[in-house]
Structures are given as C-alpha cells and as structure tokens.
C-alpha cells in the first residue's frame, strides 16, 4: 500500500514534459480555434454607446457628467418595484457565499453585489468600493428610485463604477425588483431580519 502511494506520489511529482516538436494531436482534442477578427474585437470593445464613450474621458468635466445623466433617463415603467427579497438574495450572493451561509447550493454570479458592497452582516468577504448597504431600509429611499439606481446608476451618479445592470441586460427589470426588495424588506437579513 505504502509502496503504491509512493509510486503515485513520484508519478505526480514528475515535471511536465515539454511537448515534442513534431507531436501531432488528434483533431478532436484541440481547442476550437478562435475566430475573433480585429474588426469584431473593435466593435465589441469600442462599444457604440455615447454615455460609455463620454465616461472614458480622463477628465470628467461637469458638462460630461450632465450629458451622461441626460442619456441615462430611459427606464421601463412597471406596476410595482418591490419584488421578492428571497429571490433578490439569490441574485446578490455568489454560490460560494450562499453555500457558506445556508449550507446548500444557491446564489448566482449575476449580481455580484458583495464584490463592492457590504450588506448582510453575516457576509464578511465584501468589498468597500461602494458604500455599505447594511440597514439600507432606514435611508428612506423609495422603491422606484432604488429600482432606477440599480437599473442604471448613471442616472444618479454619472460615470460611477457601478455597472448599469438593467441598461446592459445583465439583470432583467424583474430581477432588479427582487434586489430592491432584498435591500428594502424588513425581513431581509440586510435590514436585520432573521432568515
């Protein structure tokens, strides 16, 4: 048994052999060739989005900020802006964070809120790029305004670091309402609720 383990260990510790110069690989093992042309790359990188172009300026003047604000005034009209905070929590927590809190699979990589904000006090791996959202409900922000702040943050703080989740379709309007509930509902752990 010990001998076998030693053998495995020895085999595992061998340095990676450089591939033979003339080695040929079976076609199906090759990774698909990338077909991104320079033109396609340029279109994807230099996106035709006026607000984005303006925010790329090294000096963000008052005029730029004003114009970006103007460009960021399109919002879907909804009947209600308060969704389901539990669904919001699923969007806000990454699968790793969710597993740590609840011991079961859940969460998603769609919101990534904790990359930049702290909120639920049980989560300590949270960023400080944006303000802490702990007890956000106490701020008295109306659901519709909060919806807009998540859907397109540039309507309030132009060129801010926060992604325009709704504008780019990273989150649907409905998903944004769930995050609104996650931040405003008194039952949500963000506001001290006991899940």
């Amino acid at each position: 048994m010990r001998l076998l383990l030693l053998l495995i260990l020895l085999l595992a510790c061998q340095p990676k052999k450089p591939k033979e110069e003339y080695a040929t690989f079976p076609q199906f093992l090759k990774r698909p060739q990338e077909t991104v042309t320079p033109e396609l790359f340029r279109r994807a990188f230099f996106l035709d989005d006026e607000a984005q172009k303006l925010c790329s300026s090294e000096a963000l003047t008052e005029d730029i900020l004003k114009r970006v604000k103007e460009l960021s005034s399109n919002f879907p009209k909804l009947d209600g802006y308060l969704g389901d905070w539990r669904k919001g929590e699923q969007l806000a927590l990454t699968p790793e964070l969710y597993k740590r809190l609840y011991g079961k699979p859940g969460g998603s990589k769609k919101g990534l809120c904790y990359a930049c904000h702290c909120a639920d006090p049980r989560v300590d791996e949270c960023g400080d790029v944006g303000p802490s959202l702990y007890r956000y409900a106490e701020k008295g922000v109306k659901p519709e305004e909060l919806f807009k702040r998540i859907y397109n943050p540039w309507a309030f703080s132009p060129c801010s670091a926060m992604p325009r989740f709704g504008h780019h379709g990273l989150l649907t309007a409905e998903e944004v309402t769930h995050l609104v509930a996650y931040l405003l509902s008194p039952e949500s752990p963000v506001n001290g609720g006991k899940p």
Partner: protein, 255 residues
C-alpha cells in the same frame, strides 16, 4: 503515517514556497525557450542563435525596449510578435507547423529573450511616429470604459486601486511596477504568461461584449482580442512606458 505527513506538508504551501515552486516551473519553460533558441529551424535552416549569438549576447537589453517600431515589420511589435515574425521571416517555419503550436513556441522563446535583459532598466522610447500613435492609442484603451460592466483598466487599477473587491485588494500595476515582471508564471494555471497573454485574459474577464447579440450574454460573446492586434500592443506600450526606469525581473510569479 509518515507518508501522509509528507503529503500534508507538501500541500500546505506557504506563499514563499509557492513562489519557489512557481519559479522552478517557470525556469523549466525558460530552459525550453533556450533549447528552441539553439535548435529550432525551418526552411532557411537558420536558428535564432545563428543570428543573435549562442548566448543571445546581442539580445541583451532588447526586451527592456519593447514594444517598439521595427523597420523590417513596418509596425510596432511586442516581444510576442517580434519572435513570431522571426520564426516566420528568418527561420522560415512552415505555416503548417506554426498553425496549432504557435504559442507553444513563441511563449518560451519570449521568456528566454526577456530573461536575457534581467537587471536592465525598462526603457521604452517614443521616437517613431508609430510609437507615438500607439502610445496614445494604448492610453485610450487603458481609460476606455467598455463591455456590459462599463469597466475600464483604469477604473479598477487606478481610480479604485487599493479598495477591496470581495476579499481582494485591487492592485495598482503601474505604481507597483508589475509590467516589469512579465513574462510571469501563473501558479494556478501552471503556465508562463507573457504580458500579452495576461492582458488578453483581462479583456476576457471584464471588458468584452457580444456585438452580434446586441446585448450582453453569459454564454456567447467575443472572449478575447485576437493575438498581436494593434490595440493590445498599444496597451503594452503604454504600460511598459509607464514603468520606464524600473528594473526588469523575470519571470515574475503570479497567482
């Protein structure tokens, strides 16, 4: 029992040990680069060493000045493109042989050539009009907000540098002089990455958008810029120029 203990110690790498292991593996790649340098030949029957000397004496300091304009190429090239062009034009490696193995040959060679400049100071000049143009383009790319997240290189690595992102601190590569440590060995990926490789990865993770779909899609999107595309070399030029005067020390070790 003893074996188990051994295994456990081997697994509980400290950062220092990890760096040592990383450097060790990186040196294997550099050795391979040297082997290619001495032995690799194509249609012209020339090796790199035939033109640049058996120890690469004439290439000492060359990497510290890249990217730069090359008259024979008629464009600004980084080390990756310079090496590839040599393989094509001077060694005359057949396209068939380069097709699938291009990076396998280029990366170790770039690593070897870069290591010849260890200890030299980065000194990227903007003399040729093309170098000036690419510097400006690189600056534009650095500040350009892009993709579905509206991120830019500068947003996270300049404006927000030092802030916490999840449990990580956002690094500031220019003040930290990080570009002077590439090519670097990635411990996680067990691979040597050139500066170009590293920057392509950043584009994949944060900056690209699917122009075909019109909206961001998690499944299908333009993933990385093509190799040697002007914008990428421009960004390298901008970064290397920004760390002019730092001591080149390769291979670096990254996560």
């Amino acid at each position: 029992m003893l074996l188990l203990l051994l295994l456990l110690t081997a697994l509980s790498f400290s950062q220092e040990a990890l760096t040592r292991v990383g450097l060790q593996s990186a040196r294997v790649v550099l050795e391979r680069g040297k082997e290619y340098y001495l032995k690799l030949t194509g249609g012209s029957k020339l090796t790199c060493a035939d033109c640049h000397g058996p120890d690469g004496e004439s290439l000492k300091g060359a990497y510290a000045r890249m990217p730069r304009f090359y008259t024979d190429l008629g464009r600004v090239a980084d080390a990756d493109l310079r090496v590839l062009s040599c393989l094509r034009q001077y060694l005359r490696l057949e396209d068939e042989r380069l097709k699938s193995r291009e990076r396998e040959l280029v990366v170790p060679l770039v690593g070897f050539v870069a290591s010849l400049s260890n200890g030299e100071l980065v000194f990227v000049e903007l003399r040729h009009p093309e170098e000036k143009r690419l510097y400006e383009l690189g600056r534009t790319v650095w500040y350009r907000r892009s993709g579905a997240t509206d991120f830019s290189c500068a947003l996270c690595h300049e404006r927000l540098a030092g802030k916490q992102f999840f449990a990580e601190v956002l690094p500031a590569p220019i003040p930290d002089r990080a570009p002077a440590r590439y090519p670097a060995y990635s411990v996680k990926r067990d691979e040597l990455l050139t500066l170009e490789d590293k920057l392509r990865d950043c584009f994949e993770r944060y900056l690209l958008y699917d122009p075909k779909k019109g909206r961001f899609s998690f499944e299908s999107r333009v993933r990385k810029p093509p190799y040697y595309v002007e914008e990428l070399i421009a960004l390298e030029l901008f970064l290397m120029h920004s760390v002019n005067g730092s001591t080149l020390s390769v291979p670096g070790v990254i996560k």
